[in-house]
């Protein structure tokens, strides 16, 4: 896409601008999503290097065999098959494990909500907020605080996904699953069902509205939200 991103972090920012969007995981708005976006750009850079290397060697062997033949077959296989992949895979595995653990770590007491999926809408509950009514297809959360979403389903499998705030988690009938999200700034963030759940799947969207500290209670009490509805950039 943007190979020049290897050259300058400024261009990386340019790339991110190009791929921004209301549901773009590459336009992160919270720490969980940001960690994964950074992971993606790093893996993309490494993959670009590896791809160039392997294709370069292949084309070299194909077009300049008299030079490439000087390397014995055994060395090709040992270097290409073991020495090349292992130093990439091992650190990657460790980074992934640490990153995954950090995304799953709650830290402070999170703001707890429930998300109940049903063909084809989401109902959100606020168990820790007395008096807060269930909301349909709109989830109110505080900005700048980790939110723990407990996800369940009434019928088939759905998947809860707010790309700009974090990964997805399936809503499976008979089970409860959990995911942590954080929105750094107040604003609206698009959400979408990610598991095919029938003919209404495409339209099973919802919105997460992150409120400043003072606005949340008002929103949960059913008042007009004070936060801007447009996605925060």
């Amino acid at each position: 896409m943007c190979p020049a991103l290897l050259v300058s972090p400024l261009l990386l920012a340019g790339c991110e601008g190009l791929v921004a969007g209301p549901l773009s995981a590459l336009d992160p708005a919270g720490p969980q999503a940001r960690a994964v976006a950074l992971l993606w750009w790093s893996m993309l850079a490494a993959a670009a290097v590896l791809f160039t290397l392997v294709m370069g060697l292949y084309l070299w062997a194909l077009l300049r065999p008299e030079a490439a033949a000087k390397i014995p077959a055994r060395r090709w296989i040992i270097f290409g098959g073991l020495v090349l992949p292992l130093p990439v895979l091992l650190p990657l595995g460790v980074i992934a494990l640490v990153l995954g653990e950090s995304i799953l770590r709650t830290g402070d007491e999170p703001f707890r909500v429930t998300a109940h999926a049903q063909q084809w809408h989401w109902s959100f509950g606020y168990p820790g907020q007395p008096g807060a009514a269930e909301t349909i297809d709109v989830l109110h959360i505080p900005a700048g605080r980790t939110v723990e979403v407990t996800v369940s389903s009434a019928d088939v499998i759905h998947s809860f996904w707010v790309p700009r705030l974090g990964g997805k988690i399936d809503a499976i009938p008979g089970r409860e699953t959990r995911i942590l999200l954080t929105a750094d700034d107040p604003g609206g963030y698009g959400g979408q069902c990610a598991e095919y759940c029938g003919t209404g799947h495409s339209f099973m969207a919802f919105e997460v509205i992150a409120h400043p500290e003072e606005g949340l209670a008002a929103a949960l009490a059913g008042e007009t939200p004070s936060a801007p509805q447009e996605p925060a950039e």
Partner: protein
């Protein structure tokens, strides 16, 4: 054949590298009433092996005919799947498109995946393997030609069922992965899901038959002297693939049976309200589904490992490393299925283990990639300048493979990383990745293989620029379609949406993908036209046009005669270092093993597994309509199940059994033939009199698949007891003890009596066979009693699972009874003697396997209960 030179006679040995210094004393290869004149031999072999004209084509069993049918039919399904793909791309080209309504769109994407996976990819490589393996290994056919034909009919009828349902507007619509509960009765009330479950299972019968057939063929139908470590590497690939199919397909078959039982009879295997679990389906599906990816990739990699060395004019670099890599890949592939389930809320540490295993697959993949690069790097000029091409069309497709597959492999490693997958899962990023892997790792190599073996298959040489134009169109169109889709996915476009907002920012990406997909489609059309023109107008190919080094090019004519080889060489070195140009005329003259025709028998050498020493003369069956009738009867079973006419299904199943009982081969097995000359001084028994004939091997191989099925079922039951909500059931379904004890005793009796019938004088084994028959019926009756004693199966998955394992046992006892009946019948008709004991040995082997499996089944209720209670919080 007609090109056979009349120069000085050369022996086969003298032509082979590293010829055995002490060959067997030269004997004339004209034993019995064999024909010796090469032309007469050719005519006689053609007569014996030919497929008849007209209606007799429906009786064809020859591997070249059936293999080609598989390939051509799979290409028809590829066209259908491709048209469905283009409908998808039209729909997604613009935001808020109204081209397809959501229900129809769901049918289209479900059928696209189903057709491409089950009706295109698997049958295409099965057909290629069937066509090539006997020629590469040195055999006149596959081990069970009628099974090939039966598998073909099952594939054709099952695939047709799916397509007809689609045309009738009743296609499955819950995705090719058929996740429950969306595919369960309440959410998919129509017939579509049943069409998928039954149609795909019907087609799977063909895959399992092909796996059995490929395994046994590679194990014992090879040219004498071709030990396992001398086999062409393609045979190693296909042996691995067949073994993976034997273990990988049963979980899907089981899952389909359980889901159909839930849909048809309300058995709640996947219903969380009644002790089932939707995740059980995902485990079973991906236990199949992930190995499936490698099952599709490895045959294509096997083709690459065969044709890259031909281009390079040297054997494959790192033959042993490649074999080790692909066996490692096969093992690893069964430990990765959970990477399709990272977002189901499983514990992160267990995900990390599957993540590690998933990334490790990169190692054996890289070993193969670099073995191919090393082979290319060390290529040698060929003696014949005519076969020193630039980059052939075949090698262009190999380039396409490298470019696309390496990229798909890299995104595969990304997706194996758990936190990344949490974002990318179920987005168009995965759509891009899987097409990079499957089109890069399967389609391009298969196109390379198609151009490589075109002269062999058609006898025509390929010329002209159309093939290159087709390649570049497909290559450019493919990358245009799928490269940007990575970004579309990361920008948040989920899979399987039929419409999207203009605000999403995905519209121009989708438009480019859609336009490029039509470029790709035009490229495929150019390739098809190129191939058709070559078949129609191509000049005649010369023998061994690429100067290859494997046996398939040593056939007497292009395309090969139905018998492949008039005689078989003794292989004294690696079978990918042969000289087909020198070998072909020698074999065509009938010099070597079995260079004869007698009694109209279809003979091919059978060898010992590891060392490849000749052990038996395998007599293959003549063409027959039996596979067609059996396939039609099998189709009747599936149609009756689909339309829920269960009595008819039982009748049709009994007809299938009756037809199979007519399969054992005839006249040569009606009397002892003794040891017969097999050429080159060898004197061998017929397979009907050999200690371990192919049929016994087949049963051993089937036992692997059957064991995998039972293991999946036991795993499924225990998984529910531990992981499903609503366990244990309010009232535990206790089974009566008495029938359990009777069943156990009957299994022991059947085992002992079958052994006694096989020991000593088999001619007087009738009472023992009768006792084994009775014992199996006793097991069947006890099982029926136990199932009858269970509380209503619809109430809880516990009793449904118990009933399922008991049905497994009952079915196997029934088959034991059928085998005992068959042995009795064959004994009475004089087909059994001290030398001809296949029918009795089959029963003995069956009972020996059924005893431990049956005891596992009978002990299962206790284990399930203990586990269910232990898992209580």
């Amino acid at each position: 054949m007609t090109k056979a030179p009349s120069g000085p006679e050369e022996t086969v040995e003298s032509l082979l590298p590293g010829a055995d210094p002490a060959p067997a004393p030269a004997q004339p290869a004209a034993p019995g009433d064999g024909v010796t004149d090469p032309l007469a031999l050719d005519a006689e072999l053609r007569r014996i092996w030919a497929t008849g004209p007209g209606w007799q084509r429906f009786a064809a069993v020859n591997h070249s005919v059936v293999g080609l049918r598989f390939m051509v039919t799979s290409l028809v399904f590829f066209t259908i799947g491709g048209i469905l793909a283009m409908l998808i791309r039209v729909q997604l080209a613009t935001p808020d498109s109204g081209f397809l309504e959501p229900g129809l769109y769901a049918q289209v994407f479900t059928m696209h995946g189903t057709v491409m996976m089950f009706l295109f990819a698997i049958p295409l490589f099965e057909g290629l393997a069937m066509y090539l393996l006997p020629k590469m290994l040195g055999a006149r056919d596959m081990a069970f030609p009628r099974l090939s034909a039966y598998g073909y009919w099952c594939y054709l009828f099952g695939g047709t069922l799916l397509i007809v349902a689609m045309l009738a507007g009743a296609a499955p619509d819950s995705g090719w992965f058929m996740y429950t509960p969306l595919s369960s009765q309440p959410f998919s009330p129509g017939i579509g899901a049943d069409v998928w479950l039954l149609g795909v299972t019907f087609v799977e019968i063909s895959a399992i038959s092909a796996a059995v057939e490929i395994t046994v063929t590679i194990l014992i139908l090879r040219a004498p002297g071709m030990s396992m470590d001398r086999m062409p590497v393609f045979a190693w690939y296909m042996l691995t693939v067949a073994a993976m199919m034997l273990v990988g397909f049963p979980p899907l078959i089981l899952g389909s049976i359980l889901l159909e039982a839930e849909r048809a009879f309300g058995l709640p295997f996947f219903d969380p309200l009644r002790g089932g679990d939707p995740l059980l389906w995902q485990h079973l599906f991906w236990l199949f589904g992930h190995p499936e990816v490698y099952i599709i990739f490895l045959p294509a990699a096997g083709a690459l490992s065969t044709l890259i060395p031909v281009f390079a004019g040297r054997p494959l670099a790192g033959y042993r490393a490649v074999v080790a890599a692909l066996v490692a890949m096969a093992f690893l592939s069964f430990g990765l299925w959970v990477h399709h389930m990272y977002t189901t809320g499983l514990p992160h540490l267990s995900l990390a283990l599957f993540s590690a295993a998933s990334t490790l697959v990169a190692v054996p993949t890289a070993v193969q990639i670099f073995a191919w690069i090393a082979t290319l790097a060390q290529r040698r000029p060929k003696p014949d300048p005519k076969t020193r091409p630039g980059i052939s069309v075949s090698m262009l497709h190999v380039f396409g493979f490298f470019f696309i597959f390496v990229m798909g492999g890299l995104t595969g490693v990304m997706l194996a990383i758990v936190p990344f997958d949490w974002q990318a899962h179920d987005t168009h990023f995965v759509v891009a990745h899987l097409h990079y892997v499957l089109i890069g790792g399967f389609l391009f190599p298969m196109l390379a293989a198609g151009y490589h073996w075109l002269p062999l298959i058609s006898g025509r040489a390929h010329d002209g620029p159309a093939g290159r134009l087709g390649f570049w169109l497909v290559f450019a169109g493919f990358n245009g379609t799928f490269f940007l889709m990575h970004i579309t996915g990361l920008m948040g476009m989920p899979r399987r949406v039929h419409a999207y907002d203009a605000e999403s920012g995905w519209h121009w990406l989708n438009l480019i993908s859609s336009v490029s997909s039509f470029v790709m489609a035009i490229g495929f059309a150019v390739i098809v036209i190129d191939l058709l023109l070559t078949l129609r107008f191509g000049r005649k190919a010369e023998p061994d046009p690429w100067q290859a080094a494997t046996l398939e090019w040593a056939v007497p004519t292009l395309p090969p005669p139905p018998y492949n080889f008039a005689a078989f060489p003794r292989i004294t070195g690696r079978a990918d270092k042969l000289e087909p140009r020198k070998l072909a005329p020698v074999l065509a003259r009938g010099e070597g093993y079995l260079g004869l025709a007698r009694h109209g028998w279809m003979e091919t050498p059978g060898v010992s597994v590891a060392r490849g020493e000749p052990e038996q003369i395998v007599i293959l069956p003549q063409q027959t309509y039996l596979p067609l009738w059996t396939g039609l009867a099998t189709g009747a079973v599936f149609l009756s199940l689909l339309f829920k006419v269960y009595p008819l299904a039982i009748v049709a199943a009994l007809v299938v059994v009756a037809l199979f009982l007519r399969w054992p081969v005839g006249d040569h097995a009606a009397a002892d033939q003794g040891e017969l000359p097999a050429g080159e001084g060898a004197v061998l028994p017929l397979s009907s009199e050999a200690p371990v004939p192919p049929a016994i091997w087949a049963l051993r191989v089937v036992a692997v698949a059957d064991g995998a099925l039972l293991a999946s079922l036991v795993f499924g039951g225990l998984f529910l007891a531990i992981a499903a909500p609503g366990w244990p059931p309010p009232v535990w379904p206790e089974l009566p003890v008495l029938p359990g004890v009777v069943a156990a005793l009957a299994l022991v009796v059947a085992w002992i009596t079958s052994r006694m019938a096989a020991r000593g004088d088999v001619l007087h084994g009738a009472p023992m066979l009768g006792a084994a028959l009775a014992a199996n019926l006793a097991t069947l009756a006890s099982v029926a009693w136990m199932i009858g004693a269970l509380p209503p199966l619809q109430d809880h998955a516990a009793q449904a699972v118990l009933a399922a394992v008991m049905v497994w046992l009952g079915l196997h006892a029934f088959i034991g009874a059928v085998l005992a009946f068959n042995a009795l019948r064959r004994l009475r008709t004089g087909h059994v003697s001290a030398r001809r004991r296949i029918d009795i040995d089959l029963l003995r082997l069956w009972q020996a396997g059924l005893l431990p499996a049956g005891l596992v089944v009978l002990g299962f209720p206790t284990a399930l209960k203990a586990l269910a209670l232990a898992a209580l919080p």
